[in-house]
């Protein structure tokens, strides 16, 4: 067990956990931030995605010790002052989610993508989102929502 300080969504937390604990379980179980979700624990699906330093990171395979003292953003931290982020607004306007379980990963992966590539081509969206899975197959609407968000953020 070790005391580890996490900076999540602008707040500082100190937790007592095994340093090897995947960040996902600390966020969900200790900080009650349930935006990131467990889908595989293997870095294969994207359900557990959080943003660290602008990168979409799979928190199920990131030891909490390697996430200390860096700014982490979860889905809960995406909106500002009660106003949805343009990506969230696009998801709402396109009515993207079916069950919605994967959509944390979809939105945060899209955020990292658009931050780096503000005006992505269709091929860049396909490639950038390729590893973030959805078993309700909302891909078609996600593709449209990413384009809508890109347009609005331009």
């Amino acid at each position: 067990m070790a005391a580890i300080t996490l900076l999540v969504n602008g707040k500082r937390h100190t937790v007592e956990v095994e340093p090897s604990t995947p960040l996902l379980y600390v966020l969900r179980n200790d900080l009650d931030l349930t935006g990131p979700r467990f889908g595989c624990g293997l870095g294969q699906c994207g359900a557990c995605t959080v943003l660290i330093g602008g990168e979409a990171v799979r928190s199920c395979v990131r030891p909490v010790s390697q996430a200390a003292n860096v700014e982490i953003t979860t889905l809960e931290g995406l909106s500002k002052d009660g106003v949805l982020h343009p990506i969230q607004q696009a998801w709402l306007d396109e009515q993207v989610p079916a069950c919605g379980f994967c959509q944390n990963g979809q939105m945060l992966t899209a955020k990292a993508l658009l931050d780096k590539t503000p005006n992505p081509t269709d091929a860049q969206i396909r490639e950038g989102m390729r590893r973030t899975l959805c078993r309700c197959m909302t891909y078609y609407r996600i593709n449209a929502a990413v384009k809508l968000a890109a347009k609005r953020m331009a």
């Binding site: 467990f38 889908g39 595989c40 294969q44 949805l84 009515q95 079916a98 919605g100 944390n104 396909r126």
Partner: protein, 791 residues
């Protein structure tokens, strides 16, 4: 309460507000006395609705479906909450329920909310399944809402001292038709708000529940046919949604299962000392071949499950043939059961005398549900009762099953349905709910159980494999004179539902039933007129029936995609042999028929086929197209089917890369007729998802195994459609209501599953059109396509 539909937990959270979240989540359910006190103190609008429900502390008798108050609560502020026994798997059915019930009640849609699927507060409508939410359960919902309106109008009649016929109602405000402008009317809330209806309904069950009021004509329904946004989406986008995976209660432990490493193995010994040193370790629980570890924290349970030393005795015989040899096995093995054939005319004679005969075999492997999130549940035995928080689509079945499995009164058990990762039939047999309940019952502490990815992909229920043989014959004019369909389904021991003696833990602990379910082989659904036709089906067993990960369950129209793949591929083969255009060929088969069933499925099939062809811009020519020379070639395909009363015609354009073997479904057109559409936008999205799910099944999905264990265990070994495969366009044509779309009683049929059926064949037919090569074995992986191109 804010306009919303969903589970009772999130409804309570909304009612309490964010500040009371902890109270609501942690304490509300645990002590009803405390609950009432805090509710009164918080005094949040809408809470009284819940106070009319049975005490949360239990026991939990069934809500009485013959009491109007079980279905509808109206508050003084003229808002209404509907309580229905269904679950919403992400199709927006909750929003649709609000639309139809608001219409029948005549209340502002924005002032309604809907609570679903909690066995103690919503009547047992069975949860979800079979795409029947609107087709079956929509009617009692409409009838009870109409009855509430009738009762309210009678109250208003007394209030105004005029007959009901002299009253008008709009958006929950009743006024006299002759009233002067000073008569602002009286609201439903003023008439009954906060009080009970105390009206008894009639009917044998929730399907037939009714009052005395008639239903409205479709034309009078204001919300139906409009597309208010799905009310469950905002919380899924802003991160405030609480899912079943998120539930926590004080003192909760975390559990993980430990599965046998080879299928059919018997537990020999557990070395508990191997995990004693794991921090937070609580207990190893085992019974028969079921093993689980329980720890204080989740990551500890994961570690303990990994490190626990268990000795297993391998089975004496192999549980199944390797998946590569499955179809040879299925064709060579004696069936365990056969269904009565459906026969028209004399197929054998017709084939003998035909100008052209054709035969082909189609192989459809086991395909898993492979839910995006593995199975999970939290069971809380506090207060001597048992509450299970679960994403089970059939929460009522889980409640009954758990009570029987643990041999406790069902009044002790409550299942709170909450949102979860959807799997389109996986939770019809909700293993994790039973396992969590078992562990919580053993330990007398709340236990949250989470399956691993590997466990889910390997051990979830599977859509049955099919080996289908088809024969057909054409006369000299290219007309189909005979069609012979013979299916073998590996559906022995189908475990579709939450049965206390077939769920996985019942099998592993030795509490299973003696005889496996027979299973079934189903037949294709089409309205083709073929003079001689025979449909035969039988079920073949695998060597191991129990304690195996190849367990058959209900995967999104359980057999439709398999049998339609064969039947609609073969119709295309016949069309090609007749050198006919595939659309014209099908139209001919439909138009040759006469007469129709009550649902007009034949004429509706014709209408859908024409509508799809028009949207697609289908120009008639036989398949295949010109002999391909380029690396990337395109083709088009069509397929059609119906399910229950709903018809779907699908057309696709595919690109086939002849160098890499990759198939890309570039364009999809789907013409769909499910009768009256409640919410066109939500329907469109549901269909888009269903279509792509079947594209995924066509191109990627197969549960693979060797002769001792599963090989498909994660997203690398069990790939699925990804963003890279998104079609350029998906166009849905809603062809609703033929032959008389304007009839006042146009039914709302089930939607959702029908579109899953034709796609596999549509893709195969398009690959044939592009390459001249016929794919008869699913899925069409690049390796398989390359091999077929070379053959």
């Amino acid at each position: 309460m804010a306009p919303h539909s969903g589970d009772v937990e999130n409804a309570r959270l909304r009612a309490f507000g964010a500040s009371a979240r902890r109270v609501a989540r942690r304490d509300f359910l645990r002590a009803s006395g405390l609950m009432v006190a805090s509710v009164a103190a918080i005094s949040v609008e809408g809470v009284e609705a819940f106070l009319q429900r049975p005490a949360a502390a239990g026991p939990y008798p069934d809500p009485d479906f013959l009491q109007l108050d079980s279905w509808i609560v109206i508050r003084p502020d003229n808002t209404a909450t509907f309580f229905v026994g269904k679950t919403d798997l992400g199709q927006g059915t909750g929003t649709a329920f609000r639309q139809i019930m608001a219409d029948e009640l005549d209340i502002d849609f924005a002032k309604t909310s809907c609570v679903m699927g909690s066995t103690d507060v919503t009547v047992d409508q069975g949860g979800s399944g079979g795409s029947d939410a609107l087709q079956t359960d929509g009617y009692p919902m409409r009838r009870v809402a109409a009855e509430a309106r009738r009762v309210l109008l009678e109250m208003a009649s007394t209030h105004f001292g005029v007959p009901v016929t002299a009253l008008a109602v709009s958006d929950g405000v009743v006024s006299t038709k002759t009233g002067d402008s000073a008569d602002r009317g009286i609201t439903y809330g003023e008439l009954i708000g906060g009080k009970k209806f105390n009206v008894t309904l009639t009917g044998k069950n929730t399907d037939t529940t009714t009052g005395r009021a008639p239903l409205k004509a479709v034309q009078e329904m204001k919300n139906v046919g409009k597309s208010p946004r799905r009310d469950d989406i905002p919380a899924k986008v802003d991160g405030t949604q609480r899912w079943a995976v998120d539930m926590k209660v004080p003192g909760m432990l975390h559990a993980r299962n430990v599965r046998p490493p080879m299928v059919g193995a018997t537990l020999k010994a557990i070395d508990e000392s191997s995990v004693k040193a794991v921090p937070g370790f609580v207990k190893v629980v085992s019974k028969g071949n079921y093993v689980a570890v329980v720890c204080e924290r989740e990551e500890q349970a994961i570690r303990a499950a990994r490190e626990l030393k268990v000795e297993w005795t391998p089975p004496a015989t192999k549980p199944f043939p390797p998946s590569e040899d499955l179809f040879t096995y299925m064709r060579a093995t004696a069936p365990s059961s056969s269904s009565a054939p459906t026969v028209t005319g004399d197929v054998d004679t017709a084939i003998l005398g035909a100008a052209t005969t054709l035969q082909a075999q189609y192989d459809i492997p086991f395909q898993g549900h492979t839910a995006f999130g593995p199975a999970h549940a939290l069971a809380d035995p506090s207060n001597g009762q048992l509450t299970i928080y679960s994403n089970d689509m059939k929460s009522y079945g889980l409640r009954n099953g758990v009570a029987r499995f643990l041999n406790i009164p069902r009044e002790m058990v409550r299942v709170v349905w909450m949102q979860g990762p959807q799997a389109y039939g996986r939770t019809a047999a909700e293993d994790a709910g039973f396992e969590a309940a078992f562990l919580a019952h053993e330990l007398q502490r709340p236990v949250r159980l989470q399956w691993s990815r590997q466990e889910e992909t390997a051990w979830d229920t599977k859509g049955p494999a099919y080996a289908i043989s088809m024969r057909g014959a054409l006369d000299a004019q290219g007309q189909v004179v005979a069609l012979d369909f013979d299916a073998r389904a590996a559906d022995h021991n189908h475990v579709g539902y939450n049965e206390h003696d077939t769920v996985l833990i019942a099998q592993l602990t030795g509490q299973r039933k003696a005889e496996p379910a027979r299973g079934r082989a189903s037949f294709p659904s089409d309205k083709y007129a073929i003079p001689a036709r025979r449909l035969r089906g039988s079920v073949v067993p695998l060597p191991l029936a129990w304690e195996t990960p190849v367990r058959m369950g209900n995967l999104r129209d359980p057999d439709g995609p398999q049998v339609t793949f064969a039947s609609e591929s073969f119709i295309d083969e016949l069309a090609a042999a007749a050198k006919a255009d595939p659309v014209a060929f099908r139209l001919g088969l439909l138009e040759r028929g006469t007469g129709d069933d009550a649902g007009h499925k034949r004429v509706r099939s014709i209408a859908c086929l024409k509508a799809a062809a028009q949207k697609f811009g289908w120009t008639p020519r036989p398949a295949p197209g010109p002999v391909p020379t380029a690396d990337v070639v395109t083709g088009r395909g069509v397929a059609y089917s119906y399910r229950s009363e709903t018809v779907a015609v699908e057309m696709v354009e595919v690109e086939v890369n002849r160098r890499t073997g990759r198939v890309w479904v570039k364009r999809i057109v789907c013409a769909h007729d499910c009768g009256l559409v409640i919410n066109p936008e939500a329907l469109t999205r549901t269909l888009e998802g269903g279509l792509l799910h079947s594209v995924s099944r066509a191109l990627y999905e197969e549960a693979r195994f060797d002769d001792t264990k599963m090989l498909s265990v994660d997203w690398v070994s069990s790939p699925t459609l990804t963003h890279a495969d998104v079609p350029e366009s998906i166009e849905i044509v809603q062809v609703n209501g033929d032959p008389n779309p304007n009839r006042p009683d146009l039914p709302h049929y089930g939607a959702g599953e029908t579109v899953c059926k034709p796609m596999l064949a549509a893709v195969a037919n398009a690959v044939f059109d592009a390459t001249g090569v016929r794919m008869r074995r699913l899925p069409f992986t690049p390796a398989r396509v390359l091999a077929a191109l070379k053959a």
